[in-house]
Amino acid sequence: MMRRGYVLGSGAMAVALCASLIYLRDPSWLLSTTSGMRGWEVDANGARFRWMGGHASLFVPSSAHTIEIPLRTTFDQPGDWPITVSVSIDDRRADRVVLGDATWHSIVVQMPTPGSRKVRRIDIRLDRTRDDNRGAAVGEVGIR
């Protein structure tokens, strides 16, 4: 009796584990997940943006053909160096841009052929940050 209960319990746990893993393979909540970014702010022109540190990631639907990432940084201190931004899609290098002034720049990235997942990860990396670990302001990402 004990043995049967043990087998049934183990079986139920194995099924729950498999179901969880299948669900977590490609969950839709990733689309609202970001990392490495602070809360939303609005600039003087009404544009929404978030400050990122050295590395931020966000997710887009794999149906997207092109994404556009607005970025800018600050040059408040004398001697502030330009910031090099690298963008990768699912760990593959996609584009690179240098923020050499304080205006908004847009990185437009053609999305490679989608794989088996419904959601793709975009990583943005900077080669330096300013004071208080503020690197670049990231605007609302355009998806086409």
Binding site: L24, G54, R121, R128, T129, N133
Partner: protein
């Protein structure tokens, strides 16, 4: 289950930011440095997270002579977080989250890890207490410890700090010490060595707790002489224990050497101890962070140690090392330049020592068994103290109580108020 519910409450309601924060960052970040960036100099994580320079709150400094990064916090917590970190990394790859060491699963692996070590510590402590006290006393002691002190807070809200880990290690040291003296064996010697090494790796100043091992059940000079003879007789096992302890601590020594060119380092830089002017009253009784002000149930532990000293209860064996250790530890904590230990609920420096206080508390509860009227009165007082502690913890979570430097005016102004 109660700890898990608290943890879910804290993070699902946004009462705490992500688990890897403040001190929790510097305890944890060895893991991504070593295993994701394959870097023991700690510079790769700085480059990835923060453009090459760690923010000031991390307490990770550049060593003046070598310009290499030195972490004020040692590697013990990271080692104990490693199993859940590995699971989190596998799951991160599976879900395609960014494998940088700081995304969702890594965060909660670090948070849940602390919670699990508190639960493990409670289990070990329960085992030790039951050998000396009744089941009822053991259950009452564990419940009072969890809900009447800041242990629950450090199992949930601030579970990525070092205190949940030290709580387990102290409980394990008490249990293993007793087992070793019951029957000295090689396996137990190795375990004592591992636990002793991890205690040092988790918080260097906690090395003082190792006095428990030689002083367990030493209540007189004659007992001390006999202890020396036992240790001489078992010198092979003592040597194994010491060797294992040294091997466990060795990686930390190598890390310090790599970063500074020195083997022994004050990783806090210029910050240090004021041994000439310890803030003993502040640490024990003040409204800022006083141990007995914020956790009055621990006064029962003091009463319990006095009772145990005079009783025939076998837990008497712990009393002398407990009193010695608690006196020295209090002096060390009170001498630290920031005797409040920064932001915390209650005084977090004493969370590590709660397994020791638990023995005194269980002694106190046992002594009340023969005083019916006093038992009822003490029970009512303890229930009220537990309720007050729980309420104040919720106040702290809701930012009603300040993180540090609480004044009497602030405390009384929000006493029993939600906002």
């Amino acid at each position: 289950m109660l700890c898990l519910l608290g943890y879910l409450f804290v993070y699902s309601t946004g009462r705490a930011d992500r688990p890897i924060r403040s001190d929790g960052f510097s305890y944890y970040f060895y893991l991504p440095s070593w295993f994701l960036f394959h870097d023991t100099t700690l510079s790769a994580v700085a480059k990835d997270c923060c453009g090459g320079v760690y923010p000031a709150y991390t307490a990770i400094i550049r060593w003046p002579t070598t310009r290499r990064w030195v972490n004020a916090h040692p590697i013990g917590v990271a080692l104990m977080q490693a199993p859940l970190f590995a699971a989190a990394h596998a799951l991160t790859r599976w879900t395609n989250l960014s494998p940088d060491g700081f995304t969702l699963y890594y965060q909660h692996a670090a948070g849940v890890s602390g919670l699990l070590w508190v639960v493990a510590g409670m289990a070990v402590l329960s085992y030790t207490l039951r050998r000396h006290f009744s089941d009822g006393v053991t259950a009452a002691t564990l419940a009072t410890m969890l809900l009447g002190t800041n242990l629950y807070h450090y199992a949930t809200f601030d579970s990525s700090y070092s205190h949940p880990y030290s709580f387990f290690l102290f409980a394990a040291l008490l249990e293993l010490t007793e087992r070793w003296y019951e029957r000295p064996r090689q396996a137990v010697s190795v375990l004592v060595g591992i636990v002793a090494g991890l205690i040092v790796l988790t918080r260097h100043t906690n090395a003082v707790v190792l006095v428990f091992f030689p002083l367990y059940n030493v209540n007189s000079l004659a007992a001390l002489r006999e202890r020396l003879s036992v240790m001489t007789h078992e010198r092979r096992l003592i040597a194994i224990m010491a060797a294992v302890g040294v091997i466990v601590v060795l990686p930390q020594v190598l890390i310090y050497y790599q970063a500074t060119g020195r083997v022994f380092v004050s990783s806090y830089g210029d910050l240090g101890f004021n041994f000439g002017s310890p803030r003993l009253i502040g640490v024990l009784f003040s409204v800022q962070k006083g141990l007995f002000f914020w956790c009055p149930v621990l006064l029962t532990s003091c009463a319990g140690f006095v009772w145990l000293m005079r009783s025939n209860n076998s837990a008497r064996a712990f009393v002398v090392p407990a009193i010695l250790f608690l006196a020295v530890d209090t002096y060390i904590i009170a001498s630290w330049w920031d005797w409040q230990f920064g932001g915390s609920f209650g005084h977090r420096g004493f969370v590590d020592t709660l397994p020791i206080f638990a023995i005194g508390m269980a002694g106190c509860f046992t002594s009340l068994g023969s005083h019916r009227q006093l038992q009822s009165l003490v029970t009512v007082v303890i229930v009220l103290a537990v309720a007050l502690n729980s309420f104040q913890m919720l106040q702290y979570w809701n930012h009603v109580l300040p993180f540090s430097d609480t004044t009497w005016q602030q405390y009384s102004g929000v006493f029993l108020r939600w906002r």
